[in-house]
Amino acid sequence: MTLRVTGLAKSFGGVHALRGVDLTIESGEVHALLGHNGAGKSTLIKALGGAFSPDSGTIEVAGHRYDALSPRKSIDAGIAIIFQHLSLVDSLSVVDNIFLGQEEHRGGIVNRGSQREQARGLLDRLGANVAVDARVGTLPMGQRQLVEIAKALSRDPAVLILDEPTAALSVHEIQALERTVLALKRDGLAICYVTHLLGEVERLADRMTVLRDGQVHVATSLAGKSRRDIIEAIAEPSSELPGRAPILEADPPQLQLRGLTGPGIGPIDLDVRPGEIVGLYGLIGSGRTRTIETVFGRYRRHGTVSVGGRPVTRRGPRGGLAAGLALVPGDRGRQGLFASLSALDNALLPAQRALSRFGVRNRRRERETFASLTDSLKVRPASAVAPARAFSGGNQQKLLLGRWINGVLPTTVLLLDEPTQGVDVNARHEIYRVVRTIASERRAAVLFASTDPEEVVTLADRCLVMDQGRVVATIAGPDLTEDALLAAVHRPTPMEVPS
Amino acid sequence: SAPSSSSDAKDKVAKSSKDVDKIGFDYPFTFLPVYAGVTKFAKARAKEVGVDLTQTSDNGRPDVQASNLDTLIAQKVPAIVSFPMVFEALETQAAAARSAGLIWVTYGGTLKNQSASITFSFEEGGRLLGEDAATWAKENLGGKGKIAFLVDDTIQLGRERTKGMMDAFTKAAPDMEVVGREQAIDPDTGLSKIKAILAKHPDLNMVLGITDGAAFGGYKALVEAGRAESDAKTYVGGQDGDLGSLELIKKGTFYRASAALQLRDIGNAVIDVPLAVADGKSDADASADVPIALVKQGDSLLDEIISQYA
C-alpha cells in the first residue's frame, strides 16, 4: 500500500503553507518528513487527516485518488495520524479516547470490557504505564502522547503518520515507540515520521523528504547518509554557542530551595548560583514539571524558595514573578498560548505594563521589543498582528520563550519546562544561545526540565535526575554525558523511594 | 373526575368564617403595581379580621400558577382567591378545591366551578376611558385629530381592556385618525413607543393606555417633545389608578383621566368574600362586583383614592 501526494498546495489567506508538494511513501518504508519550523509539515499532515481540504493537488492511497479528504474518509482509507497538537478529549477516559469515533458495540451498546482489554494491550505494547480509566486531562503530557499513539494504532492502519510523536516522551517510551514503528514497518505499513530529532531519523528512517517554505527541498534515500548530510539538507549553518558562564562558588545562590515539597514531590534542596544552568531529567511523571511549577508558585508548597537570598513569601505566580522568577510552561496549548490573541500580545503580555507610559501602552516600544525578539529567535512569520494559532508549533514555542526573555522584565530565575519542544534544529540552537546569554550576562539562574538527554548535555552545567518526585542523582561536569543520563534512569527495578 | 356540580361539597373544611384561619391569594402578575396595592389593602383587612394571608409567586407563568394552586389545595388552605391567567385553564383546580371542601373565589372574572367571585369588568374600564376620550375629542378637537393606543395583546385581561377602550373610542369618534397601536404596559416602553410615533406625527393629540404606567410613559414623551403640561389640545388617559397618574390628573395636566380600580375595596373583598362564603352565603350573595370608575380632575373620588395611598 502506497501513499502518494502530488502537487499539494494550501494557503491560509495570504500565507502559502504548501506550494505543490510531492511525496511518495511505499509500504514497508519509514519516511522521515523534515524541515524547519513553519516549513509546512503539519499542514501536509492535516490535509491527509482531512482537517481541511487542500487548494489543489491529489492524495492517493492504495490506488484511490482523492482531491480532498474528510476525517472519516481518511480513517476509512486506512490513514492513522498522531497529530502534533493532540486530538484528545480531556474529560473522557483513556479507553473512550482510544476508541472515539470507532467504538466497539454490540446491539448499540458500547462493549466496554473488550475495549478496555484492547486498550491495555496497545498501551503495554508501547511500554506505557497508563491507567485505562484515568481521565486524559489528568495525565502528564508524555502519557497523553502515548494515548494518542495507542489511538492511532487501534485502527489497524495501512498508513501511519506521526507528527513529532516523541516531543514529550522520555527514553523508555521512545525506545518502545521506535520498536513498535520498526515492527509495523516490517508488517508492511507505510510510515511517515515527522521529527526535529536527528537521532530518530538515523535510527528509523529509510528515506527522507525535507520541506523548506512549503516546497520539497530534498527528497532522498538515507542509505549511506551521515548525520552531517542530514543536517546539511535541513539546517542553515548556525553560529557557535556562547561559552558557559563562569560559576563562582563564592557567589550566594540566586535560587535556593530548602525542603521544598509540593503535590507529590519533595523534599528538595537545591542551590543554583548566578549564571548557572541546571537541568532536571527523568522519566515521564518523575515530577520535573511539578517541581518547576511548584518553585514558580503554581501549587501550594512547603519549605522555602529564596531568590537572591530573599525568601519568596507571596503566594501564587504573582509572588514568583515579583521575586524575579519566570516560567515557560510545558503544556503550550493549555498553560501558555493565547491562541486568538496576536503574536505581540502573546510575547509581551507581562511586559506591557513595564513598557507603558502613565498606564498607557506604548506601541512604539512594544513593536520595537517584539521586532528584536522575532529577530533573535527567528520567529516566522515575523508578524505582530497574526493570531498565535496561525503559527506553527515551533514558532509558538518561540513566542512563549519570548514572553520572558524579551529583556524588559527583571527576570533573575528562569524556569523552563521542555523549552525546545517542537523546535527545529536551528531555532533550538538559537534558544540555547539565548538561554546561555541570559545566564551569563544577567547572571540569572536557569532551571529547566527536559526529556532529551542531548539537550541536557548541551545546555546544563549540572543535572538533577528525578524519580517519583525526588532528586535521586546529581551529575555535573565531565560526568554529564548522554550515557550517564540514560544509565541513571535505566534501572532494572525501580528504586524504592519511601514516600 | 372533578364534580361538575356547583353546589357546595358536604364535607366543608370551613363551617363558618371562624374556621377560616388562612386565605390563599394567588395573583399571577406580581410585577404590576396594582398587585402591590391590592395586597397592601388585603393584608390590612386580613389583620383586622384575624386571618393569615398566604401569597403565591407565579412569575406570570400559567403553569406555575396551576402548580402553586395545586399546592394550596393539597395543603387544604380553607379559602383560595385566585386571578386566573387563563380562566378556562383553572376550572380543574377550582373543581378540585371545591371537592376538597375548600372555598374557591375567582378574582377578575367567573368560573363554572366557584364558591363566589370578585369581579370588575376589564372591558368596562376600557370602555369608560374610550368614551370619555371620544367625548373630549369631539368637544376639543372637533372630532378630528390623531390618537395612539398603548395596548396589551398578550394576556386575556389585557385584550379585554384593549377591546373595550378601542371599540368605544373608535365608535364614538370615527373621524379620529389612529396613528399607532403598540404593545406597552410599563412607562419605559410607553415612553419610547410614543416618542417614535411623535417623530412621525408631531401633532399627535391623544394617547390612551392599557395601564396608567404605559400612559404615564406616553405623557412623558409628549412633555419631552415640548408639549406644555396643560396643553388644551392634548389628552392622555390610562387605567388602574396609579398614584403618579392620579397626581398628574389632580394637578390639571393633559393627563386627564384614569379608569381607576378601587384597590381598597378590592383588597377588602379578597378577605371578605371568602369569609362570607364560609358563613354560608351563596355565590350570588357573597360575590362582590367592584365598580371601575373613571376619575378626572375635580372628582371627589380622585382625592379619596389618592388618600388611600398615604
Partner: protein, 331 residues
C-alpha cells in the same frame, strides 16, 4: 480509606442531601409536604420541565444551547390545541402535529447553529422571539374545549402515575441509556469538550448536535401539548413564557456545565426535583411573594455553591489515593 459507596454518591450529587433537608424542613414546618397528593402534584408539575430539560442537557453537553424552548412549547401547545378544539382532533393527531411543529423549529435552529455555525445564543434567542410571535399570530385568543381524546394525554393515569410523569420517566430512561451506554453518548460528550478533536476522530460533529436540536424542539413542543391537555386551555401569549430559563436553570443546577462536555442526567433530574420542591415548599410555607423571589434566588446560589463543594467532597471521599487533580487556577 473506606468511605462507603453511598457517602461518595452524596458527595457526587450534593443536591441529594439538600433535597432531603428541604423535604424534612418543609414537612416539619408545614406538616403537609410528605403526602401522596402533594408529592404526586410536584411530580406532575415537574414532568414537563424534565421532558425538556433532558434533551436540553444533552444539547448543552454537546456544547450548544437552545433558548427557544419556551416559545416552541407555546407553538406545540397552540398546534395541539388548535387541532383538539377546532377539529376535535384525536390525541395521536394532536401529538403528531405538535411534534412536527417542534421539529420544524429545531430544524431551523439546527441548520443555523450546526450547519452554518452561527452563535446558538443569538440564533435561539431569535427563534424564541419569532416563534412566540408566530404562536400568538396563529392563536391570538385562548383555545379551550378540547376533544376528549386529547384530554387523555395529560389527564390519565397508568399504574397510579399521571401520564406526564410516565412520559418524563420514559424520556429520562431512554436518554440516560443513550448517554451512558451507546457510542452516540460518548460522541455527545466528546463534541462538547473538543469539537476539533472529535472531528478529527471521525465523529459527526454536525449531525449529532443537529439531531439534538430536533429532539429538543420536538420534546419542547410535546411538553407544551401535554401542559395544554393538563390545563385544558392554551393562551399563546403566556404559555411557556420564561420556560427556557427554568429549563436552563434545572440543567445547570443539575451540574451540567454551560461550556459543554460534562454533566449527567441524574444531576438534571435532581435539578428538576430541586426546583419543583423549592417552588412547592415556598408556597406551602406561605412566604410572601417578594420574599419567595429572594429565596429562590438564594437557593440557586446555594445550588451553585454545592457544585463548588462537590469535587472537593468527592476528592475527600475518593476510594483510593488516585493522582489528585492539580490545584485549579483559583476561582
Amino acid at each position: 480509606m473506606s468511605t462507603p459507596q453511598s457517602v461518595r454518591q452524596l458527595a457526587r450529587y450534593p443536591l441529594i442531601p439538600v433535597i432531603i433537608v428541604m423535604a424534612i424542613a418543609f414537612e416539619a414546618s408545614t406538616g403537609s409536604f410528605v403526602g401522596q397528593q402533594n408529592l404526586l402534584g410536584i411530580a406532575t408539575d415537574s414532568a414537563t420541565l424534565a421532558i425538556v430539560a433532558v434533551p436540553t442537557a444533552m444539547l448543552v453537553i454537546s456544547g450548544y444551547l437552545d433558548l427557544s424552548v419556551g416559545s416552541t412549547y407555546a407553538l406545540g401547545a397552540v398546534a395541539a390545541g388548535w387541532l383538539a378544539s377546532e377539529h376535535n382532533g384525536s390525541m395521536l393527531g394532536c401529538v403528531l402535529l405538535a411534534l412536527l411543529a417542534g421539529v420544524a423549529v429545531g430544524a431551523v435552529n439546527g441548520l443555523l447553529c450546526c450547519g452554518l455555525g452561527l452563535s446558538p445564543f443569538i440564533v435561539t434567542l431569535g427563534t424564541l422571539t419569532a416563534v412566540r410571535g408566530i404562536a400568538q399570530q396563529l392563536a391570538p385568543l385562548p383555545q379551550t374545549g378540547f376533544s376528549e381524546s386529547f384530554a387523555w394525554l395529560g389527564g390519565s393515569k397508568v399504574a397510579g402515575l399521571p401520564s406526564p410523569v410516565i412520559i418524563a420517566i420514559l424520556v429520562v430512561l431512554v436518554a440516560g441509556f443513550v448517554l451512558v451506554a451507546t457510542p452516540l453518548g460518548r460522541h455527545i460528550y466528546a463534541i462538547g469538550v473538543s469539537r476539533e478533536a472529535a472531528y478529527l476522530s471521525g465523529v459527526r460533529v454536525r449531525m449529532v448536535p443537529f439531531g439534538l436540536f430536533l429532539l429538543t424542539g420536538a420534546l419542547a413542543a410535546l411538553a407544551g401539548a401535554i401542559k395544554a391537555s393538563v390545563l385544558g386551555a392554551v393562551q399563546s401569549g403566556t404559555a411557556g413564557l420564561g420556560f427556557e430559563l427554568a429549563v436552563l436553570t434545572a440543567v445547570l443546577v443539575g451540574g451540567v456545565a454551560l461550556a459543554g462536555g460534562s454533566g449527567s442526567l441524574v444531576g438534571v433530574v435532581l435539578g428538576v426535583a430541586f426546583l419543583g420542591i423549592l417552588q412547592n415548599g415556598l408556597t406551602l410555607l406561605g412566604v410572601p411573594t417578594f420574599w419567595q423571589q429572594v429565596a429562590q434566588g438564594v437557593a440557586l446560589i446555594v445550588a451553585a455553591g454545592l457544585a463548588y463543594l462537590s469535587p472537593r467532597l468527592e476528592a475527600m471521599t475518593a476510594p483510593r489515593p488516585e493522582a489528585p487533580k492539580p490545584v485549579p487556577v483559583p476561582a
